[in-house]
Protein backbone atom coordinates (compact mmCIF):
# COMPACT_ATOMS: atom_id res chain seq x y z
CA UNK A 1 0.00 0.00 0.00
CA UNK A 2 1.40 3.38 -1.01
CA UNK A 3 1.45 5.87 1.83
CA UNK A 4 -0.82 8.94 1.69
CA UNK A 5 2.32 11.05 1.70
CA UNK A 6 3.66 9.36 -1.45
CA UNK A 7 0.24 9.68 -3.10
CA UNK A 8 0.20 13.39 -2.33
CA UNK A 9 3.61 13.86 -3.95
CA UNK A 10 2.68 11.76 -6.92
CA UNK A 11 -0.36 13.96 -7.65
CA UNK A 12 1.67 17.10 -7.04
CA UNK A 13 4.46 16.04 -9.42
CA UNK A 14 2.00 14.90 -12.04
CA UNK A 15 0.26 18.29 -12.05
CA UNK A 16 3.61 20.13 -12.17
CA UNK A 17 4.84 17.93 -15.03
CA UNK A 18 1.68 18.37 -17.11
CA UNK A 19 1.50 22.12 -16.45
CA UNK A 20 5.21 22.51 -17.28
CA UNK A 21 4.76 20.59 -20.53
CA UNK A 22 1.73 22.71 -21.50
CA UNK A 23 3.55 25.98 -20.72
CA UNK A 24 6.65 24.82 -22.63
CA UNK A 25 4.56 24.18 -25.76
CA UNK A 26 2.82 27.58 -25.82
CA UNK A 27 4.94 29.05 -28.69
CA UNK A 28 3.58 26.27 -30.94
CA UNK A 29 -0.03 26.80 -29.82
CA UNK A 30 -0.52 30.50 -30.54
CA UNK A 31 -2.03 32.10 -33.60
CA UNK A 32 0.38 32.14 -36.50
CA UNK A 33 0.66 35.91 -36.61
CA UNK A 34 1.60 36.10 -32.92
CA UNK A 35 5.06 35.11 -31.71
CA UNK A 36 6.04 35.60 -28.05
CA UNK A 37 3.16 38.02 -27.60
CA UNK A 38 4.08 40.17 -30.61
CA UNK A 39 1.87 40.57 -33.69
CA UNK A 40 4.26 39.90 -36.56
CA UNK A 41 3.89 40.75 -40.24
CA UNK A 42 3.50 37.74 -42.57
CA UNK A 43 7.04 38.30 -43.83
CA UNK A 44 8.39 37.25 -40.43
CA UNK A 45 6.43 34.01 -39.95
CA UNK A 46 9.15 31.73 -41.36
CA UNK A 47 12.07 33.66 -39.84
CA UNK A 48 14.67 31.10 -38.68
CA UNK A 49 15.63 33.17 -35.61
CA UNK A 50 12.03 32.92 -34.38
CA UNK A 51 12.01 29.15 -34.94
CA UNK A 52 15.22 28.84 -32.92
CA UNK A 53 13.85 31.03 -30.10
CA UNK A 54 10.73 28.89 -29.84
CA UNK A 55 12.87 25.78 -29.51
CA UNK A 56 15.08 27.37 -26.84
CA UNK A 57 12.04 28.47 -24.87
CA UNK A 58 10.44 25.01 -24.98
CA UNK A 59 13.61 23.17 -23.96
CA UNK A 60 14.33 25.68 -21.17
CA UNK A 61 10.86 25.36 -19.68
CA UNK A 62 11.04 21.56 -19.82
CA UNK A 63 14.42 21.75 -18.03
CA UNK A 64 12.92 24.06 -15.38
CA UNK A 65 9.99 21.69 -14.87
CA UNK A 66 12.23 18.66 -14.41
CA UNK A 67 14.45 20.62 -11.99
CA UNK A 68 11.44 21.83 -9.99
CA UNK A 69 10.20 18.26 -9.59
CA UNK A 70 13.66 16.98 -8.56
CA UNK A 71 14.17 19.84 -6.07
CA UNK A 72 10.75 19.49 -4.48
CA UNK A 73 11.26 15.71 -4.27
CA UNK A 74 14.61 16.26 -2.55
CA UNK A 75 12.99 18.68 -0.10
CA UNK A 76 9.96 16.44 0.50
CA UNK A 77 10.64 15.87 4.22
CA UNK A 78 11.72 19.42 5.01
CA UNK A 79 9.20 21.64 3.27
CA UNK A 80 5.56 20.92 3.88
CA UNK A 81 3.19 21.26 2.14
CA UNK A 82 4.96 21.65 -1.20
CA UNK A 83 2.25 22.95 -3.51
CA UNK A 84 4.55 25.62 -4.89
CA UNK A 85 6.38 23.80 -7.68
CA UNK A 86 3.67 24.52 -10.28
CA UNK A 87 3.54 28.30 -9.62
CA UNK A 88 7.37 28.37 -9.61
CA UNK A 89 7.51 26.69 -13.05
CA UNK A 90 4.97 29.21 -14.40
CA UNK A 91 6.89 32.18 -12.93
CA UNK A 92 10.26 31.02 -14.29
CA UNK A 93 8.70 30.33 -17.70
CA UNK A 94 7.54 33.95 -17.76
CA UNK A 95 11.08 35.12 -16.99
CA UNK A 96 12.29 33.07 -19.98
CA UNK A 97 9.48 34.48 -22.13
CA UNK A 98 10.04 38.15 -21.34
CA UNK A 99 13.45 38.74 -23.01
CA UNK A 100 12.22 36.75 -26.04
CA UNK A 101 9.13 38.95 -26.22
CA UNK A 102 11.32 42.08 -26.20
CA UNK A 103 13.64 40.56 -28.82
CA UNK A 104 10.76 39.78 -31.24
CA UNK A 105 9.32 43.28 -30.66
CA UNK A 106 12.71 44.76 -31.60
CA UNK A 107 12.98 42.55 -34.71
CA UNK A 108 9.53 43.67 -35.79
CA UNK A 109 10.44 47.32 -35.27
CA UNK A 110 13.42 46.86 -37.61
CA UNK A 111 11.09 45.55 -40.30
CA UNK A 112 8.87 48.64 -40.18
CA UNK A 113 5.17 48.96 -39.35
CA UNK A 114 2.58 46.34 -40.36
CA UNK A 115 0.16 49.03 -41.51
CA UNK A 116 0.05 48.87 -45.26
CA UNK A 117 -2.32 48.39 -48.11
CA UNK A 118 -3.14 44.84 -47.01
CA UNK A 119 -4.29 45.63 -43.48
CA UNK A 120 -7.69 44.15 -42.74
CA UNK A 121 -9.72 43.67 -39.58
CA UNK A 122 -12.14 40.80 -39.24
CA UNK A 123 -14.11 39.53 -36.32
CA UNK A 124 -16.55 36.87 -35.27
CA UNK A 125 -19.32 37.79 -32.88
CA UNK A 126 -21.71 35.35 -31.30
CA UNK A 127 -25.30 36.07 -32.14
CA UNK A 128 -26.73 34.58 -29.03
CA UNK A 129 -27.38 31.73 -26.68
CA UNK A 130 -29.64 29.69 -28.97
CA UNK A 131 -26.72 27.47 -29.90
CA UNK A 132 -25.10 27.46 -26.42
CA UNK A 133 -24.09 23.88 -25.41
CA UNK A 134 -26.64 23.69 -22.58
CA UNK A 135 -26.32 19.89 -22.34
CA UNK A 136 -22.78 20.21 -21.02
CA UNK A 137 -24.00 22.07 -17.95
CA UNK A 138 -26.29 19.17 -17.06
CA UNK A 139 -23.74 16.86 -15.29
CA UNK A 140 -22.76 19.63 -12.85
CA UNK A 141 -26.38 20.48 -12.16
CA UNK A 142 -27.26 16.81 -11.52
CA UNK A 143 -24.31 16.44 -9.10
CA UNK A 144 -25.33 19.54 -7.14
CA UNK A 145 -28.96 18.46 -6.89
CA UNK A 146 -27.79 14.97 -5.84
CA UNK A 147 -25.56 16.49 -3.14
CA UNK A 148 -28.35 18.60 -1.64
CA UNK A 149 -30.90 15.77 -1.91
CA UNK A 150 -28.62 13.20 -0.25
CA UNK A 151 -27.54 15.74 2.41
CA UNK A 152 -31.15 16.47 3.37
CA UNK A 153 -32.31 12.83 3.28
CA UNK A 154 -29.23 11.60 5.16
CA UNK A 155 -29.27 14.47 7.70
CA UNK A 156 -30.89 12.55 10.60
CA UNK A 157 -28.21 9.86 10.38
CA UNK A 158 -25.22 12.22 10.53
CA UNK A 159 -23.55 12.18 14.00
CA UNK A 160 -23.77 15.27 16.24
CA UNK A 161 -20.05 15.83 15.74
CA UNK A 162 -18.84 14.96 12.24
CA UNK A 163 -15.37 15.22 10.63
CA UNK A 164 -14.80 18.28 8.40
CA UNK A 165 -11.07 18.28 7.93
CA UNK A 166 -8.58 15.53 7.28
CA UNK A 167 -4.84 15.28 7.71
CA UNK A 168 -2.69 14.11 4.83
CA UNK A 169 -2.77 10.56 6.21
CA UNK A 170 -6.56 10.50 5.88
CA UNK A 171 -7.33 10.69 9.60
CA UNK A 172 -9.85 13.41 10.57
CA UNK A 173 -8.20 16.21 12.55
CA UNK A 174 -11.17 18.53 12.88
CA UNK A 175 -14.83 18.02 13.71
CA UNK A 176 -17.90 20.26 13.40
CA UNK A 177 -21.11 20.41 15.33
CA UNK A 178 -24.02 19.21 13.27
CA UNK A 179 -26.26 21.93 11.81
CA UNK A 180 -28.02 22.45 8.48
CA UNK A 181 -25.37 25.03 7.60
CA UNK A 182 -22.41 22.82 8.54
CA UNK A 183 -23.84 19.78 6.75
CA UNK A 184 -24.81 21.63 3.58
CA UNK A 185 -21.62 23.72 3.51
CA UNK A 186 -19.92 21.59 0.81
CA UNK A 187 -22.93 21.50 -1.58
CA UNK A 188 -23.40 25.27 -1.16
CA UNK A 189 -19.78 26.11 -2.01
CA UNK A 190 -19.97 23.70 -4.94
CA UNK A 191 -23.14 25.40 -6.22
CA UNK A 192 -21.53 28.86 -5.93
CA UNK A 193 -18.42 27.76 -7.89
CA UNK A 194 -20.58 26.07 -10.55
CA UNK A 195 -22.76 29.16 -10.95
CA UNK A 196 -19.64 31.31 -11.26
CA UNK A 197 -18.10 29.06 -13.94
CA UNK A 198 -21.43 28.95 -15.78
CA UNK A 199 -21.60 32.75 -15.93
CA UNK A 200 -18.00 32.81 -17.22
CA UNK A 201 -18.84 30.19 -19.88
CA UNK A 202 -21.83 32.24 -21.06
CA UNK A 203 -19.72 35.41 -21.18
CA UNK A 204 -17.07 33.64 -23.26
CA UNK A 205 -19.72 32.17 -25.56
CA UNK A 206 -20.98 35.68 -26.23
CA UNK A 207 -17.62 37.35 -26.68
CA UNK A 208 -16.32 38.60 -30.04
CA UNK A 209 -12.83 38.12 -31.31
CA UNK A 210 -10.49 38.96 -34.11
CA UNK A 211 -9.49 36.47 -36.75
CA UNK A 212 -6.02 35.43 -37.75
CA UNK A 213 -4.83 35.52 -41.36
CA UNK A 214 -2.87 33.32 -43.67
CA UNK A 215 -4.61 30.19 -42.30
CA UNK A 216 -7.39 28.16 -43.89
CA UNK A 217 -10.82 28.98 -42.69
CA UNK A 218 -10.11 31.13 -39.62
CA UNK A 219 -13.87 31.46 -39.06
CA UNK A 220 -14.45 27.73 -38.50
CA UNK A 221 -11.32 27.55 -36.35
CA UNK A 222 -12.53 30.40 -34.14
CA UNK A 223 -15.96 28.80 -33.76
CA UNK A 224 -14.61 25.35 -32.91
CA UNK A 225 -12.16 26.91 -30.45
CA UNK A 226 -14.89 28.87 -28.70
CA UNK A 227 -17.22 25.89 -28.60
CA UNK A 228 -14.57 23.51 -27.17
CA UNK A 229 -13.45 26.09 -24.59
CA UNK A 230 -17.00 26.62 -23.32
CA UNK A 231 -17.76 22.87 -23.22
CA UNK A 232 -14.51 22.29 -21.35
CA UNK A 233 -15.38 24.98 -18.77
CA UNK A 234 -18.76 23.37 -18.17
CA UNK A 235 -17.18 19.94 -17.75
CA UNK A 236 -14.55 21.39 -15.39
CA UNK A 237 -17.34 22.61 -13.16
CA UNK A 238 -18.80 19.06 -13.19
CA UNK A 239 -15.39 17.70 -12.15
CA UNK A 240 -15.20 20.28 -9.34
CA UNK A 241 -18.69 19.24 -8.25
CA UNK A 242 -17.67 15.58 -8.21
CA UNK A 243 -14.74 16.43 -5.91
CA UNK A 244 -17.14 18.25 -3.59
CA UNK A 245 -19.57 15.34 -3.77
CA UNK A 246 -16.86 12.87 -2.73
CA UNK A 247 -15.77 15.21 0.10
CA UNK A 248 -19.34 15.74 1.29
CA UNK A 249 -20.16 12.01 1.21
CA UNK A 250 -16.96 11.30 3.16
CA UNK A 251 -17.86 13.92 5.79
CA UNK A 252 -21.34 12.51 6.18
CA UNK A 253 -19.95 9.00 6.58
CA UNK A 254 -21.67 7.64 3.44
CA UNK A 255 -18.40 6.67 1.86
CA UNK A 256 -15.02 6.32 3.43
CA UNK A 257 -12.45 6.19 4.67
CA UNK A 258 -10.99 9.39 3.26
CA UNK A 259 -8.75 8.70 0.28
CA UNK A 260 -6.51 11.41 -1.11
CA UNK A 261 -6.09 9.62 -4.44
CA UNK A 262 -9.84 9.62 -5.05
CA UNK A 263 -10.24 13.21 -3.95
CA UNK A 264 -7.44 14.49 -6.21
CA UNK A 265 -8.33 12.32 -9.19
CA UNK A 266 -10.69 14.93 -10.70
CA UNK A 267 -7.91 17.56 -10.50
CA UNK A 268 -5.51 15.26 -12.36
CA UNK A 269 -8.16 14.41 -14.96
CA UNK A 270 -8.88 18.13 -15.51
CA UNK A 271 -5.21 18.90 -16.10
CA UNK A 272 -4.81 15.95 -18.50
CA UNK A 273 -7.99 16.94 -20.38
CA UNK A 274 -6.79 20.56 -20.54
CA UNK A 275 -3.48 19.43 -22.06
CA UNK A 276 -5.22 17.28 -24.69
CA UNK A 277 -7.64 20.08 -25.58
CA UNK A 278 -4.79 22.57 -25.66
CA UNK A 279 -2.62 20.47 -28.00
CA UNK A 280 -5.41 19.44 -30.36
CA UNK A 281 -7.08 22.85 -30.64
CA UNK A 282 -4.44 25.53 -30.14
CA UNK A 283 -5.21 29.18 -29.54
CA UNK A 284 -8.15 30.31 -31.69
CA UNK A 285 -8.16 26.83 -33.24
CA UNK A 286 -4.73 27.28 -34.79
CA UNK A 287 -3.95 23.56 -34.49
CA UNK A 288 -7.25 22.17 -35.72
CA UNK A 289 -7.02 20.15 -38.92
CA UNK A 290 -9.47 21.75 -41.30
CA UNK A 291 -10.79 19.48 -44.05
CA UNK A 292 -9.93 20.47 -47.60
CA UNK A 293 -12.63 22.33 -49.39
CA UNK A 294 -14.25 23.25 -46.11
CA UNK A 295 -12.54 26.61 -46.12
CA UNK A 296 -15.22 28.92 -47.39
CA UNK A 297 -12.98 31.65 -46.06
CA UNK A 298 -13.43 35.22 -47.04
CA UNK A 299 -10.81 36.05 -49.67
CA UNK A 300 -10.23 39.38 -47.98
CA UNK A 301 -9.25 37.55 -44.79
CA UNK A 302 -6.79 35.28 -46.61
CA UNK A 303 -5.11 38.15 -48.42
CA UNK A 304 -4.80 40.51 -45.48
CA UNK A 305 -2.38 41.37 -42.74
CA UNK A 306 -3.65 41.75 -39.19
CA UNK A 307 -3.97 45.30 -37.95
CA UNK A 308 -1.24 45.97 -35.40
CA UNK A 309 -2.67 45.85 -31.87
CA UNK A 310 0.56 45.48 -29.86
CA UNK A 311 0.01 48.78 -28.08
CA UNK A 312 -2.89 47.27 -26.09
CA UNK A 313 -0.83 44.29 -24.89
CA UNK A 314 1.51 45.08 -22.00
CA UNK A 315 4.51 42.72 -22.12
CA UNK A 316 2.48 40.79 -24.71
CA UNK A 317 0.29 39.22 -22.03
CA UNK A 318 -1.82 41.92 -20.31
CA UNK A 319 -4.60 43.40 -22.42
CA UNK A 320 -5.49 46.98 -21.48
CA UNK A 321 -7.87 48.74 -23.88
CA UNK A 322 -10.33 51.24 -22.48
CA UNK A 323 -12.08 51.57 -25.83
CA UNK A 324 -12.88 47.86 -26.02
CA UNK A 325 -16.25 46.86 -24.54
CA UNK A 326 -15.17 43.24 -24.12
CA UNK A 327 -14.39 41.81 -20.70
CA UNK A 328 -12.82 38.59 -22.06
CA UNK A 329 -10.35 38.44 -24.92
CA UNK A 330 -8.37 35.49 -26.35
CA UNK A 331 -4.90 35.17 -24.81
CA UNK A 332 -1.87 36.11 -26.85
CA UNK A 333 0.67 33.83 -25.22
CA UNK A 334 -1.35 30.84 -24.15
CA UNK A 335 -4.54 29.02 -25.00
CA UNK A 336 -7.84 30.33 -23.70
CA UNK A 337 -9.05 33.70 -22.56
CA UNK A 338 -7.80 36.56 -20.44
CA UNK A 339 -9.42 39.76 -19.26
CA UNK A 340 -9.38 43.29 -20.63
CA UNK A 341 -7.83 45.13 -17.71
CA UNK A 342 -8.96 48.43 -19.18
CA UNK A 343 -12.61 47.45 -18.61
CA UNK A 344 -14.14 48.40 -15.24
CA UNK A 345 -16.20 45.17 -15.11
CA UNK A 346 -13.05 43.09 -15.63
CA UNK A 347 -11.38 44.83 -12.71
CA UNK A 348 -14.49 44.25 -10.58
CA UNK A 349 -14.48 40.57 -11.59
CA UNK A 350 -10.80 40.27 -10.74
CA UNK A 351 -11.58 41.75 -7.32
CA UNK A 352 -14.39 39.23 -6.89
CA UNK A 353 -12.15 36.29 -7.85
CA UNK A 354 -9.43 37.45 -5.48
CA UNK A 355 -11.90 37.98 -2.66
CA UNK A 356 -13.47 34.54 -3.14
CA UNK A 357 -10.83 32.76 -0.99
CA UNK A 358 -11.30 35.48 1.66
CA UNK A 359 -15.08 34.92 1.66
CA UNK A 360 -14.52 31.16 1.90
CA UNK A 361 -12.18 31.71 4.83
CA UNK A 362 -14.75 33.87 6.62
CA UNK A 363 -17.42 31.22 6.03
CA UNK A 364 -15.12 28.51 7.40
CA UNK A 365 -14.33 30.63 10.48
CA UNK A 366 -18.05 31.38 11.00
CA UNK A 367 -18.83 27.69 10.73
CA UNK A 368 -16.37 26.75 13.49
Amino acid sequence: MISAFAQFYFVEFLITAITGLAVSLIPYMTERSIVFGVRIPSGMIYNSKLTAMKRIYTLSVIAVTVSAIIVSYALRYTVYPVIVSTPIVIAVAFLIYLPMHLRVAAMKKDMGPIEGDRTVSAMVASGGLKSFPWLYSLPGLVLIIAMFAVGIVYYPRIPVMFPTHYGISGIPNQYSEKSIFAVLFMPTISAIITAFLFVLAVAIWRTSFRLDYGVDDPVSRARIFRSRTVKFMLLVSAFVDSTFLISAFTEWGIIGPFNLMVITLPAVLIVVAALLLFASTGQMGSRIRIKEGNGAADQRILAGEVKDDDKYWKAGVLYVNRNDGRIFVPKRFGVGFTMNFGHPAALALLGAILSLPVILLILIILKL
Partner: protein
Protein backbone atom coordinates in the same frame (compact mmCIF):
# COMPACT_ATOMS: atom_id res chain seq x y z
CA UNK B 1 -24.07 28.32 -39.04
CA UNK B 2 -26.50 30.91 -37.86
CA UNK B 3 -25.96 33.22 -34.96
CA UNK B 4 -22.46 34.37 -35.77
CA UNK B 5 -21.70 37.73 -37.25
CA UNK B 6 -18.51 38.09 -39.27
CA UNK B 7 -17.29 41.54 -40.22
CA UNK B 8 -14.23 42.19 -42.37
CA UNK B 9 -12.98 45.72 -42.81
CA UNK B 10 -10.65 47.00 -45.45
CA UNK B 11 -9.32 50.43 -44.41
CA UNK B 12 -7.99 51.05 -47.92
CA UNK B 13 -11.30 50.52 -49.66
CA UNK B 14 -13.05 53.53 -51.16
CA UNK B 15 -16.14 52.53 -49.19
CA UNK B 16 -16.08 54.26 -45.79
CA UNK B 17 -15.75 51.97 -42.75
CA UNK B 18 -19.24 52.67 -41.39
CA UNK B 19 -20.68 51.75 -44.79
CA UNK B 20 -18.69 48.48 -44.83
CA UNK B 21 -20.11 47.58 -41.41
CA UNK B 22 -23.61 48.59 -42.51
CA UNK B 23 -23.67 46.47 -45.65
CA UNK B 24 -22.15 43.39 -43.98
CA UNK B 25 -24.77 43.43 -41.22
CA UNK B 26 -27.56 43.85 -43.76
CA UNK B 27 -26.10 40.92 -45.70
CA UNK B 28 -25.94 38.80 -42.54
CA UNK B 29 -29.63 39.50 -41.94
CA UNK B 30 -30.54 38.78 -45.57
CA UNK B 31 -28.66 35.48 -45.64
CA UNK B 32 -30.17 34.33 -42.34
CA UNK B 33 -26.92 34.35 -40.36
CA UNK B 34 -28.57 36.96 -38.15
CA UNK B 35 -32.16 36.25 -37.24
CA UNK B 36 -34.85 38.61 -35.97
CA UNK B 37 -34.36 39.00 -32.22
CA UNK B 38 -30.58 38.32 -32.35
CA UNK B 39 -28.55 40.82 -30.42
CA UNK B 40 -25.74 42.71 -32.11
CA UNK B 41 -22.43 43.28 -30.33
CA UNK B 42 -22.43 46.53 -28.38
CA UNK B 43 -20.90 49.63 -29.95
CA UNK B 44 -17.88 49.41 -27.67
CA UNK B 45 -17.32 45.70 -28.37
CA UNK B 46 -17.38 46.17 -32.13
CA UNK B 47 -15.13 49.24 -31.87
CA UNK B 48 -12.73 47.30 -29.63
CA UNK B 49 -12.43 44.15 -31.73
CA UNK B 50 -12.08 45.98 -35.02
CA UNK B 51 -9.88 48.62 -33.38
CA UNK B 52 -11.81 51.50 -34.90
CA UNK B 53 -13.48 54.62 -33.53
CA UNK B 54 -16.63 54.17 -31.44
CA UNK B 55 -18.37 56.87 -33.49
CA UNK B 56 -17.78 54.94 -36.72
CA UNK B 57 -19.70 51.97 -35.31
CA UNK B 58 -22.35 54.30 -33.93
CA UNK B 59 -22.81 55.81 -37.39
CA UNK B 60 -23.29 52.35 -38.93
CA UNK B 61 -25.75 51.21 -36.24
CA UNK B 62 -27.68 54.48 -36.40
CA UNK B 63 -28.07 54.05 -40.16
CA UNK B 64 -29.20 50.43 -39.70
CA UNK B 65 -31.74 51.61 -37.14
CA UNK B 66 -33.09 54.40 -39.34
CA UNK B 67 -33.44 51.95 -42.23
CA UNK B 68 -35.41 49.60 -39.98
CA UNK B 69 -32.97 46.65 -39.87
CA UNK B 70 -32.30 46.88 -36.15
CA UNK B 71 -34.08 48.25 -33.09
CA UNK B 72 -32.54 49.93 -30.07
CA UNK B 73 -33.80 48.47 -26.79
CA UNK B 74 -33.19 50.01 -23.35
CA UNK B 75 -30.84 52.53 -24.93
CA UNK B 76 -27.99 50.08 -25.40
CA UNK B 77 -29.09 46.74 -26.83
CA UNK B 78 -29.33 46.54 -30.59
CA UNK B 79 -31.74 43.82 -31.73
CA UNK B 80 -32.34 42.57 -35.28
CA UNK B 81 -35.82 43.68 -36.37
CA UNK B 82 -38.51 41.39 -37.81
CA UNK B 83 -38.11 40.95 -41.56
CA UNK B 84 -40.90 43.06 -42.91
CA UNK B 85 -41.18 46.40 -44.69
CA UNK B 86 -44.11 48.80 -44.69
CA UNK B 87 -45.68 49.80 -48.02
CA UNK B 88 -43.73 53.01 -48.32
CA UNK B 89 -40.39 51.35 -47.68
CA UNK B 90 -41.23 48.49 -50.04
CA UNK B 91 -42.10 50.96 -52.79
CA UNK B 92 -38.87 52.86 -52.20
CA UNK B 93 -36.69 49.72 -52.29
CA UNK B 94 -38.39 48.33 -55.40
CA UNK B 95 -37.85 51.63 -57.18
CA UNK B 96 -34.17 51.57 -56.26
CA UNK B 97 -33.92 47.97 -57.39
CA UNK B 98 -35.62 48.73 -60.69
CA UNK B 99 -33.16 51.52 -61.35
CA UNK B 100 -30.22 49.20 -60.70
CA UNK B 101 -31.68 46.41 -62.84
CA UNK B 102 -32.28 48.83 -65.72
CA UNK B 103 -28.68 50.03 -65.48
CA UNK B 104 -27.46 46.41 -65.37
CA UNK B 105 -29.48 45.51 -68.46
CA UNK B 106 -28.23 48.61 -70.28
CA UNK B 107 -24.66 47.57 -69.49
CA UNK B 108 -25.23 44.10 -70.88
CA UNK B 109 -25.30 42.16 -67.59
CA UNK B 110 -27.30 38.98 -68.19
CA UNK B 111 -30.44 37.90 -66.33
CA UNK B 112 -28.63 34.74 -65.19
CA UNK B 113 -25.89 36.74 -63.50
CA UNK B 114 -28.43 38.79 -61.56
CA UNK B 115 -30.44 35.67 -60.80
CA UNK B 116 -27.48 33.75 -59.33
CA UNK B 117 -26.41 36.77 -57.29
CA UNK B 118 -29.83 37.36 -55.77
CA UNK B 119 -31.06 33.78 -55.36
CA UNK B 120 -29.08 32.99 -52.19
CA UNK B 121 -30.90 35.69 -50.24
CA UNK B 122 -34.35 34.26 -50.79
CA UNK B 123 -36.17 31.19 -49.48
CA UNK B 124 -35.93 28.24 -51.79
CA UNK B 125 -32.49 29.28 -52.93
CA UNK B 126 -29.26 27.90 -51.52
CA UNK B 127 -29.46 30.07 -48.42
CA UNK B 128 -27.52 28.73 -45.46
Amino acid sequence: MSGDLIITLDPNSETPLYRQIYSQIVEAIASGRLLPGDRLPSLRVLAGVLDINYHTVNEAYEMLRQDGFITLMNRKRYIVSPRKADDEKKKHILEELQESVIKAAALGISYDEIDSMTRKFFNGGDAH
